[in-house]
């Protein structure tokens, strides 16, 4: 058992198009880094060493319920001191809360000799997600922990399947400076969906999974379309359909809303296309006087990992 770990968990994008609420994937490079120390006692301290503003009250930090859930499952007490060394900007649409939650869960597992399974760690991380957005969702936390493209087949019990990641698979994400809360994005969804649309959606989910296994990138692209959440949520994103046309014309496989939005992402099978997609996204929002952050990265197969351990 280690006494100190430095742990990384990657950024992720939930709701992979048609895979609304059941799929997510990780982005290379971007992510959160925590340093975690274990000692005798019973308590949690969190110090934010980044320039990103975070609540000082540990009860409002997603890391806290994750640590408590972990200790609860293994039925142990400990003093855990956390230093946040790197942080994705909250609300950026690339799984800021789940990167911290997943890093915390993975770090705890390292500090205690890896007693928990992947599914149990996702359960811990989901406590952080619940604090952040009022819901137990695993579609960011599972990829952030396990890496790659992940399917959450079901929640009762949690059944998580790692899907193959195509060799060359790039993602451009833009976070436009538009305020859409997760709550607002949830409330606009209907309680019921037309059977016809639901059937088209699960046809696409099947096609997307088949495309990933068979390496058929064109199939991945045409299966990404979301018939359920996107028609409701795209109204929050100015010029959504126009932007998709421009990106697909430029060679992107698909464009979808990242998580509950307002970020959007485009997939591509070449870096040059992803870079061009990023440029088109900047122009799209820039010309509307909307600020933005853009990430152009490889879709990673790596999940949370230990950077240092002693």
């Amino acid at each position: 058992m280690s006494e100190r770990v430095k742990v990384f968990a990657p950024a992720s994008i939930a709701n992979m198009g048609c895979g609304f609420d059941v799929m997510g994937f990780t982005l290379d490079e971007e992510g959160d880094i925590l340093e975690m120390r274990r000692s005798e006692g019973d308590g949690i301290s969190i110090v934010n060493e980044t320039e990103i503003p975070l609540p000082e009250d540990i009860e409002k930090n997603v890391v806290t319920p994750v640590i408590r859930k972990f200790l609860d499952i293994i039925d142990k007490k400990a003093q855990i001191d956390v230093r946040i060394l790197r942080k994705i900007y909250p609300g950026s649409g690339i799984g800021s809360s789940s990167a911290s939650s997943s890093a915390a869960a993975y770090g705890m597992n390292a500090l205690f000799g890896y007693p928990l399974s992947d599914e149990e760690l996702v359960e811990c991380a989901m406590e952080g997600e619940n604090l952040a957005s009022g819901g137990y969702h695993a579609d960011n936390a599972a990829p952030a922990l396990m890496g790659g493209i992940v399917l959450i087949r079901g929640y009762e019990p949690l059944d998580i399947i790692k899907l193959p990641v195509p060799g060359n698979f790039y993602c451009s994400v833009i976070h436009p400076e538009i305020v859409v809360s997760t709550k607002q994005a949830r409330e606009i969804l209907p309680d019921k969906v037309p059977l016809h649309d639901a059937i088209r959606q699960w046809g696409n989910v099947g096609g997307l999974v088949a495309g990933l296994y068979s390496g058929d990138i064109a199939l991945v692209g045409r299966a990404m379309r979301d018939f359920v959440a996107e028609p409701c949520r795209k109204q929050f994103i100015p010029g959504f359909d126009e932007l998709r046309c421009k990106l697909v014309d430029a060679g992107a496989l698909a464009m979808n809303i990242a998580g509950s939005g307002p970020s959007v992402f485009a997939l591509a099978d070449r870096y040059s296309v992803a870079a061009k997609a990023g440029k088109i996204m900047k122009e799209h929002f820039g010309s509307r006087s909307i600020g933005y952050d853009v990430y152009v990265v490889k879709v990673s197969n790596n999940g949370a990992k230990i950077l240092e351990e002693e």
Copy 2:
């Protein structure tokens, strides 16, 4: 180009559990056989050489619109004389109409030098499905033509994906003598489904496709559950839940409604389990004084094929 072909198309089961309206698979051995002759002229004749009662009016035989659609696509005229040599009993729940429709489409392609693609042949066969049940569905016709386990990702345009069939994959099907029309089975479905159930359904479709590609038979079994059509349709099948419990206890991977019912099927990864499942199905309906036909077969990878050609 041949002047005479003898063509076979297999039995199939539509709505593979969670894959409602988008998946189907073929059964070994069972199926329809047609002999088709092409000559100069412009007309269709159909002779039923089997003991199965079929309408004498060719306008009521599913083969007719399939032949017409085929000739329409290739823009040719011909006299086509059909002899039905073997026929699955209509209403048996294993794709009787689509076996004939698919055999007719495949046979026409052979008679004219294979001008049409698989998707185009499915479009032809769907004309027969439409005559039989008043809807353009491909979830029997596509497997009957192409073989194996098939996903219809979308209809506009038709996008059909052949999925891997596990090496040892058996199916027990029982057709209980209960009258449920396809129309009745359609009408009981809701126009809208709760979003929560729809999400569980597409999680399962993703899991089923992943299980087939990765050869994870246990995943296939637990992903089969249909949350949308089954809860409505199982009322037509006496003791549905009890039967499923008995079959799963006996080692079956899953039990679901075949097509729109009232037939049900169970999947197994060993012939001995499939045989036992067949026995349990017989006892279940026999003890309720309901007659039945039972099939215990391997899930096939073979679709329509030419048996003789001259």
